[in-house]
Amino acid sequence: MREILVISGKGGTGKTSLTGAFAHLASNKIVCDLDVDAPDLHLLLHPHPTHTQAFFSGHVAQIEEKLCTGCGLCASLCRYGAVGFKADSFSIDPLRCEGCKVCVQFCPAGAIHFPEKHCGEHYISSTRFGPMVHARLFPGEANSGRLVTTLKQQARELAKSRGLGLILSDGSPGIGCPVISSLSGANLAVVVTEPTPSGRHDLERVTSLCFHFQIAVAVIINKFDLNPQAAESIEAFCGARGYPVIARLPHDPVVTRAMVEGLVVTELPETDFSKEVGKTWTKIEEIAASLRKQ
């Protein structure tokens, strides 16, 4: 089984639109939206959930007012400023609570409960491009790292049971915990970047993460025509590091047009852009196949 992950150092590089098109072009695969902080792929794929599961992660502290003697120990121990004193009583702000249990442990009155936190839901769905695994976190919930891992496991199990050879994932942006989780176990990271000052900067950061985890990298320069000079500097960077630049895609309004129609760009009547996207996918498949032989 191969796992191809499409990532970018930051959002807005067109990563999801491209993943959607690749999902259309790839055969025998499961699509997985690992961008759990801000999933968008469902807006193109319109999944119908067949299984929904609640996602619990970590714990949150809650003071039971009746038992609290107001000694204030919890407030002085909490390092996250989560315990507040309002209207003559102590209470815990769930959005600031890190779930460290320190207050629970030390409260002399045993007044603090520590229930599990319901953070979101995850789904197995059917789409016009085949099965899809995705999730939704409630606002303000962290811990997307484990949710990412859960989704990947689900995708792997599903791929196994249905005999599908590829997991195509839309990865999280950034370089934090969720990206680290989405990279683990991937064979190939397709990094979508833009020729902006931040694009190059973010590319450097995200590729060093791939290097750290020994994952093969292929680079797509999106909207390369916006700043040919910066695009060249990205190419030079990739050349120096030995990362293949597999596509230079122009800035094309057809991408937004497809999005407005809720379609992926390769489903619209053929354009130069969609032809390029097709070629790009072929290259990705070639690279992935060569990795497998090694």
């Binding site: 801000a38 320190v102 606002p139 790292g145 934090g176 680290i180 950061r205 937004t256 407005v260 809720g262």
Partner: protein, 293 residues
């Protein structure tokens, strides 16, 4: 006044809006990059950095000669950062959230505070604007503790000089993003009028609305996509504070690291008017609060 520039997702132009706003801000200002995973504001503001220092988080160190292997620390730690293995206490500093629980609970005083580097905090100035930035160390998975330290530094700078703050917040609606905006006075959401943009915007609005802070919208790349953002804002009475039209010159300027407000007087005017509207938004809320009282 602290203004957070946020967006449901990266790539909406949040950073350019923050940079443009900093450019036209009339009162004394500190511009803060709280997007510590991918700080980019400096690439636009090009500040002169005067000082860069490491940021740390406290992690425990075990004195094996004092430890009696009672496992109290390991039982308390919710993050598996200190762990009893047979008759050994192992620490995994990179998993530690720095809660201090293990050190407080150890009956033998066998634990003392050590530290792990989270990243760096830099200070400087860009013209008359003070500049503050956090940058997460590569491989570091926890941004909230670094963000808290950047916010503390911001409060010191702003408090000392009576400065306003404009914060470039991390994108999204997860924990770091919520953390960034929850202590600000005004939230400005940047979005673009496309289905993705609208979807992410709506999630951000739902996440931030419970804070009850004045919130407004900047629509970037106006003219592309569809009208969903506009009808949603009308329905929820979310003021549209500014619209920056879609323009190839802007996209190119952005890709060269230029600030939109610097591109032409017309664009500068958009942000001058945004500046005024942010103050209107903040004071409208004050009036409302007063009339309720």
């Amino acid at each position: 006044m602290i203004v957070s520039i946020a967006s449901g997702k990266g790539g909406t132009g949040k950073t350019t809006v923050a940079a443009s706003l900093a450019r036209v801000w009339e009162r004394p200002l500190v511009a803060v990059d709280l997007d510590v995973e991918a700080p980019n504001l400096h690439l636009f503001l090009c500040p002169q950095i005067e000082e860069t220092g490491p940021a740390w988080i406290e992690t425990p160190i075990v004195d094996e000669s004092k430890c009696t292997f009672c496992s109290a620390c390991s039982d308390l730690c919710q993050f598996k950062a200190i762990s009893m293995m047979g008759s050994l206490v192992l620490t995994f500093p990179e998993m530690c959230h720095g809660c201090g629980g293990c050190i407080a609970i150890c009956p033998q005083k066998a634990l003392s505070p050590g530290r792990r580097q989270l990243g760096e905090i830099s200070r400087g100035h860009a013209g008359g604007v003070q500049f503050l930035m956090g940058r997460l160390r590569i491989g570091e998975a926890m941004s909230p503790p670094l963000m808290r330290q950047v916010k503390t530094a911001m409060n010191e700078i702003a408090g000392a000089g009576g400065l306003d703050a404009v914060i470039d917040s991390p994108p999204g609606v997860s924990c770091p993003a919520v953390n960034a905006v929850m202590d600000s006075d005004v939230i400005v959401l940047v979005t673009e009028p496309t289905p993705f943009g609208f979807h992410d915007f709506r999630l951000a609005w739902e996440a931030f609305a419970p804070f009850g802070k004045p919130m407004g919208v900047v629509i970037n790349r106006a003219g592309i996509g569809d009208r969903q953002v506009y009808s949603f804002c009308a329905e929820k009475e979310i003021p549209v504070l500014a619209e920056a039209p879609y323009d190839r010159a802007v996209a190119e300027g952005y890709s060269q690291g230029r600030i939109i407000a610097d591109l032409s007087p017309k664009y500068r005017h958009i942000f001058v008017s945004l500046y005024a509207k942010i103050f209107e938004l903040a004071s409208a809320r004050l009036d409302k609060g007063a009339s309720h009282a």
